[in-house]
Subunit: 217 residues, 4 copies
DNA sequence: AATGAATGAGCATTCATTCAT
DNA sequence: TATGAATGAATGCTCATTCAT
């Protein structure tokens, strides 16, 4: 299943890049500008309270132009997710490729999770808050990249079990969700907090508990 | 004039209480019916896509009647949260009152968390999905009952640390968030899953990992 | 202030007494209370911005009770006009009855016009502003008591013409409108002015100009 | 104050015309079309009973388009008044500029007043009836152009007094209101009358009486 | 007569989307 | 491609009126 997903993503990336490369740079730039503007606007006002006109203004284009790049307001939200998730998973795989130790892998995942979202607050807000504003989106979200992400964690846990580093009495898929949930909650708290603090160090706290929690010793 | 008013008010109050006593059921029922209907509608369509008319229809009342019990559509969402959170925390405190062992307390919290949400899917959807659709609400949410909830967990962890059952090198407030995040993620997954499975057993999985993770041994 | 109102009501009741006597006192009182409350509310907020509930509250009765005395919100406005106009014309006729000199009659009319409206600001506001908010009402208004009022003035002018006191080259009906318009405008100005000054003395100014204007000399 | 207003109006007109000229004709036309349609609709149904949709329909545009030109239904009413009053006063000043004799000036004012309103019944209805439907508007109305108008009349009367043509025992500002009130009442009567007759000749009747009334002789 | 909870028609305004230029 | 004026469907909320008690 993991293999499948991997292939899937690869194909997807290829398809994407083909598309992207064949377009003049300005096209990509404008598309990017819209996504960036939308991320900011959605983060500030929320998806439902954001007007397409706000996005267009922030992207310094006319309202109608948005529709040359996206079919609808909904699609913009999707694209934000797609683009970020794609980059995220792709970078995750790259970073995990040279690691063997499951513990190190989980550490890398946690660090990546928090450093990524911690470095782009707007994106984080959209991920933690806006993407969850509708069951409709959540299902698609869940079905798409998110499942891939969970699978990477799950496989790592399974590897650890095979290597007798991790307990065998835990279910890898559930443990993966627990791991993800813990990381996720800290991001959400970070976003909603009035205090501004670095997110990255939080990853350690999760690891401290989770790794001991699933340790075979 | 003062005397008159006084009598007036007395009569008025009496009238009120008579009325209220003879009617409490219908008033309460109607309010409840609206909340129940709204929970269902919000769970199905999402808050922003739900019309007040939908709620009224499901509650079998006229549109305008909704506004005799709630000031706005927003207030309905708030009330759903308030009522559920209040009941949740109140029951939590009751159930924890007779427990001494921090481990048992955390177990009880986890079980309660999952059994409560697991027994009312609509409410769970609203909690997991709709309440997070806006930073605005999330902040209020966070500021209100949610903080109480986290505090209960945090204190329990602190107790465990004092009793030398739990590790001292973890920060209770962060550990509390991790615990909550883990439980929460399983609820979200349960909601979004196409498969229908009981939520309650998931609590054990969280406990298995978390308790070992924070154990002093 | 309480005393004033009381006298006011007494006068009013006397005028109405034919109708009124056949009804139990409480009925009349409640009807009056509603009209008084409505006059105040309409004067403050304007007819269209006034709620029936506001009127009921000010009259210290239940919303529904209003409809035991008036068929609709519109009818309340009508009744305010009818009652006041009736009282006004009736008093006018009484006061003019013992006068022979057309000049004295016009003087009496002008004084009455300004003293009446000048002594009840709320009523004046309703008369000058609210009653004119709809052509629909204006036509009925025009058709009803207002025509009577104009006729009294017109006849007086005609008398003066016959007595060779007033010019014959003016059309009585138009002169009557001019006289009325002049008086009316001063009332409107008085109402809208931020300054508070007595209205009654204004009548003299109108008379000074108008009487000379129509004088035969 | 009169001088100031004059300059003010001039500047305003210049600014207006610059703007207007730089816009494509269609923009101006659409704005005008809305105002014209609104005047008609308000005249027929009254402001509060008119729907924005009615105006849009009559102007042959979509409902939403109204809001590209006006911020609210209220603003439409204001604009009708502003535009008409501006044109009215501006034309009045022009026409009075070459006249010296105060009597001639008053004659011109009266004629202009009646010929203007007499030539656009819908506008007249809005002016006489709708604009007076709320104290709120009346105050603004009174504060704005209306005061200018009264001042023009007042100054003319003062000139006449200085020239010893008019009586010195009348207060110019009150006389101005009387003159205005007389003209105004005839307009209102004309509007409400079921008979259709020319309004303009009425001006003479007012002049006949008023000029004799304030004459020094 | 009196109440006031319930009704439901009614409407200003917004904003995603389209399309003529 | 890009524009932005125009569209018109969509909806939360109000409030005059009714009616069961």
């Amino acid at each position: 299943m993991n293999g499948d997903s991997f292939i899937c993503i690869c194909i997807f990336n290829m398809a994407r890049s083909t598309q992207t490369l064949s377009r003049p740079r300005s096209v990509t730039d404008k598309r990017s500008a819209i996504l960036k503007a939308a991320t900011k606007v959605f983060a500030q006002k929320g998806f439902f309270n954001s007007k397409v006109a706000d996005i267009a203004e922030k992207a310094k284009i006319a309202d109608g132009t948005v529709y040359l790049y996206f079919k609808s307001k909904d699609e913009i939200l999707h694209s934000i997710f797609d683009r970020a998730m794609e980059a995220f998973i792709s970078e995750g795989k790259t970073q995990l490729a040279d690691l063997k130790d499951p513990i190190e892998k989980l550490r890398r995942i946690a660090e990546l999770h928090h450093s990524r979202l911690g470095s782009d607050r707007n994106l984080a807000v959209v991920f933690q808050v806006e993407l969850r504003g509708s069951t409709k989106f959540m299902r698609e979200f869940s079905a798409a990249g998110f499942a891939d992400y969970l699978n990477i964690i799950r496989k790592t846990i399974e590897e650890g079990q095979k290597a007798k580093i991790f307990r065998k009495d835990i279910k890898p898929i559930i443990a993966a969700k627990i791991f993800y949930g813990a990381l996720d909650e800290l991001v959400t708290n970070w976003i909603l907090s009035k205090k501004r603090y670095p997110l990255a160090p939080m990853a350690d706290e999760v690891l401290k508990i989770f790794l001991k929690g699933i340790s075979a010793k």
